[in-house]
Amino acid sequence: MVATVPAAPAGAVDRPVALLAAGFILLLALACALAVDGRQGLLALVGAGFGFALYHGSFSFAGGWRAAIVRGRTGSIRAQMLAIGLASIAMLPLLARGEFLGQPLAGAVGPLGLSLAVGALMFGFGMQLGGGCASGTLFTVGGGSVRMLITLAFFIAGALLGTAHLPWWSQQYAYGVVLPAEHLGVVATLLLQLAALALVFWLARRWELRRTGAVAAISRPPADAPVLPVSRRLWRGQWPLAWAAVALAVLAVANLLLAGQPWSVTFAFNLWGAKLAGLLGLDVAGWEYWSWSMPAQALAGPVLAESTSVTNFGIVLGALLAAGLSGRFAPVARVPLKSALAAAIGGLLMGYGARLSFGCNVGALFSGIASGSLHGWAWFALAFAGTAAGLRARRCFGLED
């Protein structure tokens, strides 16, 4: 099981689910707008857009990497490179400018070092057991996957555990943050980055051609998708991967402009874990990580004031809306024990790994690369290696290839 939507043909619109999701999206946006500010309300809608696009495009990092290694299908990886490239074109110049309409902008940057290496390997391994990456976990939960609720619960626990150890890991060997734009300039860095993304795209395409004898175009809907006019496919789903890539790039730029920071997912998980731990009587405020400025402020304030929490809620609700509109919201309660165990271990590894590696497939890979930080590329290579090992471990839990 991976973070993909059910492959069955779409049925009739599931009105109760679609109406419930739409209602909650409006409620979230209104609550953020009235209780925090208008930008936070818009950010909630951006989050819902992420969930909608991820679900309708079945845009999966974990499943996409697995399909590339096991079956030679590289459409997801090519779509990821397209999305990151498009986001880079807007984000690198914006970040070099440093502000937009008075809002300071900061990139998703992280240091190269031991913490990044260990964390990215753990994350890549864990996401094959968990069945989804960070964004995948959220959008499949919204799509009705009960198994992914287990992954999410342990993801949160792992992220909280990671905050207990991150200060120690941050004192181990680190080369520091490397931002090529500071040495080469924005234009040269952007061109270099687009060339690197194009190279990965081309290598993936070649790999697919060699393994399968043909290359599936990412501009076309999945082969098993019903024939629909564009206007209907937009809300009914089973988008071509390229549509989802464009949508995610546009939304990522909107996220940067509204929040002042790039799209990120897992900071919210440690925050939710810390708040839940507080309810259970475990006070984490004394931990070193939670004494750092930003985490301390996040812990003291409401989750609705924290950007990644708002977009995460939006992702779940946006995916729920997409599942309702496509008629594919079909939760299954039965989760085999071995599969549940794999979900728990995968979630823990992803949570802990994300904390050590300064983000996940979104915060480190997507936003890290789009911010022009070299740690994003290092994360990509290391998490991919971890995924290759994780694929072998899947067999121990009876998970399909």
Binding site: V17, F24, L27, A35, V36, D37, Q40, Q103, P104, L105, A106, A108, V109, G110, P111, G144, V146, L166, P167, S170, Q171, G176, V177, A259, G260, Q261, P262, S264, T266, F267, N270, K275, E288, Y289, S291, W292, S293, M294, P295, Q297, A298, A300, G301, P302, V303, L304, A305, E306, S307, F313, P331, V332, A333, A354, R355, F358, G359, G363, A364, S367
Partner: protein, 75 residues
């Protein structure tokens, strides 16, 4: 239990879970709002080199995980 009634049960459980999360978020907000005005926590605040935080000091901004980043001495 038939598969359709099982599916209905799961849908109800998920609905209850959704409502529970909404109620928890609302309670969290009420609790924080009681302590003072709520403002959005937005990143991108560059901290001065004289400021010290956690185990990494001085620092300039934050990685998405909330970890303070060391300032580039060349800047």
């Amino acid at each position: 239990m038939t598969s359709s009634s099982s599916a209905s049960t799961v849908r109800i459980v998920l609905l209850v879970l959704l409502l529970a999360v909404a109620a928890t978020v609302a309670t969290d907000f009420r609790h924080s709002a009681a302590a003072g005005p709520v403002t959005a926590l937005r990143n991108a605040e560059t901290h001065g080199a004289e400021e010290e935080g956690g185990s990494v000091a001085p620092f300039c901004g934050f990685a998405p995980c909330g970890m303070p980043l060391e300032c580039d001495p060349a800047r």
